[in-house]
């Protein structure tokens, strides 16, 4: 059981790293489009690792199944919302930030 607990801890720490990185990206990235990347991709992995860690602690198969289902549904919602926000910005003619050549 100790091995499983250690593995859970490692997965949760890794998840934490991705959530923190996603939030840092949200704060540091220069425009709406790149912030969308930070949120969708880093949180997707962060949540996936969290779900894996919790699956290891699950008491029965239905719990494992439910956790997996949660991840898939959040992914679907996250991809959809990412598109809706990005598409609206694009239709309003927001141009992406580009690095000016020095």
């Amino acid at each position: 059981m100790i091995v499983v607990d250690v593995l859970t801890g490692v997965l949760l720490l890794a998840a934490l790293f991705f959530f923190v990185a996603g939030t840092v990206g949200l704060l540091r990235f220069p425009d709406l489009y790149s912030r969308l990347h930070a949120l969708t991709k880093a949180d997707n992995v962060g949540l996936g690792l969290t779900v894996l860690a919790l699956m290891l602690q699950a008491e029965n198969w239905p719990e494992v199944f439910k956790l997996g289902l949660i991840w898939v549904m959040v992914l679907a919602a996250s991809a959809t919302i990412c598109f809706l926000i990005g598409n609206e910005a694009y239709r309003r003619g927001q141009t992406p930030w580009t690095r000016r050549s020095p």
Partner: protein
């Protein structure tokens, strides 16, 4: 996702009943997965499964495709690997002091037919390394990329092939371009 036009659908055909039964079986399977052998849960589960199947047929009546099991497993593996890479890539950029970004919006022709396959493709793009869909038209998609490089198109083609494989579709051979 918008801007995808569907041909007019026949309202009630025998196929609808078949589809309803298939969805019913799928929803029942999901309920079974969530509740295991707790049979009394079906008191709630029965009506819920029925309602979910009905809503699903109403909202997505037409699916002219079949899933290929092998393709789906291959896609799942590809998706997991790539989303891990995508998360790592964006984390690295966010945490790097130099903030290495050279974003751009680029448009590509779409090869997948409208419908579920295209929807999955567009959804997956937003979760994979460095790309997010910002616009979909009938024949093309526009993608915001974190790092404009010629490899982006290559990666999108690879994803498209995986999605096509999952739905048992055959894509037209890409024209020999530039």
């Amino acid at each position: 996702m918008t801007a995808v036009t569907h041909p007019a659908r026949p309202a009630h055909t025998p196929a609808v009943a078949g589809r309803f039964i298939a969805r019913l079986a799928l929803m029942a399977l999901v309920w079974l997965g969530m509740n295991g052998t707790d049979w009394s849960s079906w008191l709630v589960g029965g009506p819920v499964v029925f309602a979910a199947a009905w809503v699903s047929v109403r909202l997505l009546p037409d699916t002219r495709w079949r899933l290929s099991a092998g393709g789906a497993i291959a896609f799942a593996g590809f998706f997991l690997r790539e989303s891990l890479r995508g998360g790592w890539d964006v984390a690295r950029r966010a945490l790097s002091p130099a903030l290495p970004l050279s974003p751009a919006i680029v448009c590509f022709p779409l090869h997948l037919p409208p419908g579920s396959a295209r929807l999955l493709f567009c959804g997956a793009i937003s979760l994979l390394p460095g790309t997010a869909v910002v616009a979909i038209t009938v024949g093309s998609i526009c993608v915001h990329v974190l790092d404009a490089s010629p490899r982006v198109e290559e990666e999108l083609r690879e994803l498209e092939d995986h999605v096509a494989g999952m739905f048992g579709l055959r894509l037209p051979e890409p024209e020999e371009a530039s």
